[in-house]
Assembly symmetry: C2
Homo-oligomer: 301 residues x 2
Amino acid sequence: MKLTVLGCYAATPRTFTNPTSQVLEINNEVLLIDCGEGTQVELRRNKVKFGKIKHIFISHLHGDHFYGLIGLISTFMLLNRKTELHIYGPKGIKEIITLQLKFSNSWTGYPLYFHELSSHEPEVILTTRKVTVETIPLKHRIYCNGYLFREQPKPRKLLMEEVEKYDIDVAYYKGIKKGKDAVLADGNVIPNEKLTADPDPPKSYAFCSDTAYHPGMVDQLHKVTALYHEATFLEEHAYLAAPTGHSTAREAAAIAREASVEHLVLGHFSTRYETILPFKAEAEKIFSPVQLADDGKSFNF
Amino acid sequence: MKLTVLGCYAATPRTFTNPTSQVLEINNEVLLIDCGEGTQVELRRNKVKFGKIKHIFISHLHGDHFYGLIGLISTFMLLNRKTELHIYGPKGIKEIITLQLKFSNSWTGYPLYFHELSSHEPEVILTTRKVTVETIPLKHRIYCNGYLFREQPKPRKLLMEEVEKYDIDVAYYKGIKKGKDAVLADGNVIPNEKLTADPDPPKSYAFCSDTAYHPGMVDQLHKVTALYHEATFLEEHAYLAAPTGHSTAREAAAIAREASVEHLVLGHFSTRYETILPFKAEAEKIFSPVQLADDGKSFNF
């Protein structure tokens, strides 16, 4: 599972910081999460193939999380895309995008589907053979969802030495990987546990931005492989966090600890800070390991 | 009069080319023309003070000319702008912008005025003490205007040696600069032409993008100081120009010649070309002087 951060700074794009967008490669799916202004350029800079993106997840309708979406949709059109594209985001996103396509008289030549969200409870919004995606209702100034991405459970691992010892035909492998016992030509039954080992546990990634400190999501995040949690402020500016619907690094770490996640990645830093290093120090007092997102930085989990 | 090109390439923003946007400084007014995605970052890169921009002119509602507008408007808001902002552009632009502000629940704290255009005849849309701005109806796939910016006529130049010779009081200077004669204390009248010289002729700048070859605009462009005319294609791709509502370098030069403009600047180059130098060569066969726009390049006229 690989996370590429295209942008992870709050508010306005600047010459040296990008607003939120990231690419998650999980079980061979390529998923785009949020799409601030300039995302299409950052995708090019990070050599992400446009054609591989089939699903885009928008957390909320503040500009630093979606103003790049209309441009990306248009560019896909100019590049003659044919494969379908699915957009997940708050109610309103379809109207915003289609209004602009209407006035430019430029309808996409590819199927464009909107999946508008309005529930305040977690819901599964995508299930493919490779992943499931569910919403994580967040606590922000406007309706906002995080997203929880999980690999589908993997087949059991064949113990090839055992399988070959019993001379089992290849045709049975698929069933055995699903947990079936093997029935030999002589009628003998070899129990599955002799032929297979447990698969790697499915990996999972939770994207939580933007949100105030919100312990209500802890249960849903239980033991995820990696949690990206916004940390707009340091604790010294905690008085700004709650009223603006944002978190401090300490609060993000508290969520990570309560949810027993494996890795915590912090992002959505306010551009008021000259260096982001103190975010790591502050969070590590409570949880470990902590990593800091940064534009153009990749993480393998 | 100074023109700063923030972006001058057609279609999609890329890591090394920007879509259309430019800043015109004319008679101390700072005007923004078109606003493709990423314009706010290019404004910062070129150190244009955000607060000085009070008028933004959008040619048409194709994304490469206005997808950066909503982000710029939002950033002005985040930066706590108080001064008013005027947006000029095709009918529809107000709905597009306000819809997005509505869904983000972020109304601007500064007065935001929309001046929507729908006429197919030239019209004066702004008159200040410093400049007048009129539309130049263009010929494109969708409704599109160029803009003609003219300095207001300047006061006559005082010939200080003469003025001092007659010991004329400073209080009369303003009237004399407007063309009045001077009446001395002894009743003698000094005719204005003895005291003043003709002012510099007002400078003018015409922005014409996007447009197919459109000789109908030649009269309006007569003797402008500088004409920015799109040249999306070279003549070898003329077969693409007309159907897409674009021009070739040769066609742009033909307009410049017919209109007897002083300077021609070419831009809106298709990103299919590895170098833009042939645009200059092609245009110079017909008109001179020709200059090529480029991202980050400034011109003084």
